[in-house]
């Protein structure tokens, strides 16, 4: 927290520079990464050939985004159903890296997410229920651990946010992704009240978008420059997936804990390997967040507390995320909780 608070001070450039050295994802790395997105075939964690070739066959038949609005044409009859699996057994909240969660960092940097939004936020969940039940007492079970829950937009198939939007500024595409039209949003934040995962954010002030962001084309499927007074959230990077790339968060995860895939193909990948979605979910008793609400999210979790990444669950704490605009102390930033 202190790191980014400091950044608004005049003498913070030193801190920011130090942070840059500390964190694995540097701006240069990212630009390279973004360049790779544009130039097909460049090095980097690619979606394996099976998906990539399927993507190509769709792309070659016309405009990639055409199946956003119109999936009646025979060429795009096969509609992708993007999904995500987060393997919590591998997620150590980047404790082993000694950095802020790299998924959040890469997403923030890649989308130029303004402070203090974290479209994919890594929550630390207390695993000792006895402590909760008897506050102030020693837990009867000598277990005092935590787990990390990286939480992107859950891409609900029965999305409460879409239901309540008065102007249709947020909608679910045939591919199953909920997107936001910044140019139609009236900024009443009804969707934020409706989202049971708190995955929606508001640009309370003029968002601190760096100049570099203006060179990247922004669309509801790939939001890079946000406007004041509208709602924003994780866009699930379908544009990158179509280009054969994993989303920023999945690319950046040092433990390869994030899988991105397509239910239509029944395949998902974390950049290191490919899994069959149905088998993988069943084998590891995957769950979804707040499943009982009937929102039918497309993000699945394999329960764990970083044990396969060698994390001791009793080690708690997550490093704060730094923002790409930290270089620019003039930019207006705001704290999330109103303190």
């Amino acid at each position: 927290m202190t790191d980014r608070r400091l950044s608004s001070d005049a003498n913070s450039s030193a801190v920011a520079a130090e942070n840059d050295r500390k964190f694995k994802i540097s701006r240069r790395y990212l630009l390279k990464l973004m360049g790779a997105t544009a130039a097909a075939g460049a090095a980097g964690p690619l979606i394996p050939g099976v998906i990539a070739s399927a993507v190509e066959s769709i792309n070659s038949s016309g405009d990639a985004t055409s199946d956003l609005q119109d999936n009646n044409s025979p060429a795009s009859a096969r509609v992708r159903r993007w999904m995500m699996i987060i393997d919590q057994r591998y997620c150590d909240g980047c404790q082993s890296q000694g950095t802020a969660p790299q998924c959040t960092q890469a997403c923030n940097d890649g989308h130029y997410v303004p402070e203090p939004m974290e479209w994919i936020e890594v929550y630390e969940h207390d695993l000792s229920p006895e402590k909760e039940a008897y506050p102030g007492q020693e837990p009867s079970i000598p277990f005092d651990g935590t787990q990390f829950i990286p939480t992107p937009c859950q891409q609900c198939q029965n999305a409460p946010c879409v239901n309540v939007c008065p102007v249709g500024a947020t909608w679910t595409t045939p591919e199953g992704i909920t997107l936001i039209d910044q140019d139609r949003c009236i900024g009443y934040r009804m969707c934020m009240a409706a989202c049971p995962y708190e995955r929606r954010f508001f640009t309370w002030g003029e968002p601190s978008t760096p100049a570099a962001a203006h060179h990247v084309a922004s669309s509801p499927e790939h939001q890079v420059s946000l406007k004041k007074g509208v709602v924003a959230k994780c866009d699930f990077c379908p544009e990158m997936a179509r280009a054969g790339k994993l989303p920023f968060c999945a690319q950046a995860c040092p433990q390869n804990a994030i899988y991105y895939g397509d239910f239509e193909e029944n395949l998902a990948t974390n950049g290191a390997g490919v899994v069959s979605i149905s088998e993988f979910l069943a084998e590891h008793s995957a769950t979804r967040l707040k499943e009982e609400l009937g929102t039918r999210p497309r993000v699945y979790y394999i329960p764990g507390h970083g044990e396969l990444a060698g994390r001791d669950p009793k080690t708690s704490g997550r490093r704060p995320v730094t923002w790409i605009d930290d270089e620019n102390p003039e930019t207006k930033t705001w704290a999330r909780d109103g303190q």
Binding site: V167, Y197, W204, G338
Partner: protein, 441 residues
Amino acid sequence: MTTRIQDVETRILAPLTGSSRPFWIWIGVLLAIIAWGAVAYFIQAREGLIVTGMRDRIMWGLYITLFVMFIGASMAGTFVSAVLRLTGASWRGPIVRSAEMITVAALVVAAIFIFFDMGRPERAFNIVLFGRWESPLVWDVYGLATYLAGSLLYLYLAAIPDIAMIRDLVPASQRLRSALYRAYAVNWIGTPDQRRVLLSTLGAMAIIMVPVAVMMHTVTSWIFGMTLREPWNSPMFGIFFVGGAIYSGVGLIVIMMFIVKRVYRLNDLITDQHFLKLGYLLATFAALMVFFNVSEFVTLGYKTSVDASFYITQMTRGSMAPVFWIYIWGGLILPIILIALPWTRNTKGIVVASIAANTGMLLERYFIVVGGLTVPLNPYEPASYFPTWIEWSLMLAGIAIFALIVTALAKALPIVAIWELREHEQEQDLEHARRMAEVSA
């Protein structure tokens, strides 16, 4: 009999012909507050909602609280002019007009508070262009428009005979005024045919306005009730809001009645009996609100699901505890006690009870909005919210706009429906004559 009524009429009509010094001071104060609010709004429009205390976790605050508050206040007119008309309460006569003015003004200000809360107010028209019927907010916007149109129509229809009376009084030299009153009097001369049409229309409007009001308050509650948040996610929210609206509405009528009585010196027209009757209603609805709150807390608190127990802890001994307990003891129990005890069961006591009721209901709406949003949906430390000076300024400006609209309406129309007063008097005379005839026979 007639001299008494003429005397009352002169006092009611006096503000329509001239303005006193205190009136201009009052208008000046209101305009100053509104100007201050305009500065605050200008800053908010320039900087964005960042100038408020709201943030991503608690994304609604004082503006929505006041929106709900003013929607609740709008119940005042509908209740008096429709519910009391339908139940045949003849004592409502002197308060109908002012209560209807409250309704119109409150609905306008409620709409303004929706506007204050928008990140992109310039796109407000998108609700009409791209409105989706699935959204509770669209229900609310159209509900509000319907309710406002209905209330304006009701206020106007019930005022036609009075407008015609003023038309006949306004000197022809005041061209604009006489033209306006002539246009709005729609050739009313009080023929039996005209009276029949007007009375049946008013009867029909009274019947229509009751469900419209219930709809409006329910739909307002559904802005919250349609989300998956504890404690908003509750089937009793609609009932809660309707009950709360009647409670604060009745309280507002009492306050308004007291002001009218003082300003217009209508001691002979608005008597202790009026306050007493509304006082009983107030106490009844306070008891009903106690019942609703007990129902909510017992059903949630018995099971203590994670969210519900957080909510209840926060309310009873957490960050919302002062607000909650002032509401319970000051906003609900105190009015009941004031009206129950014979020593305080008088005009003063009932006015105090009404002020307590409305303050309590403002707090209630605040803790419903902010308290509901404080319940964490993810594992993190609960967020906090406190309004900034911008929000307080716009709150005061909203209240000032409300007062200004009511004042302006009271300048254009008699604050008491004179024709109904005359009618009531005639009825009483007839009744009196019949009784005398019966006795002598």
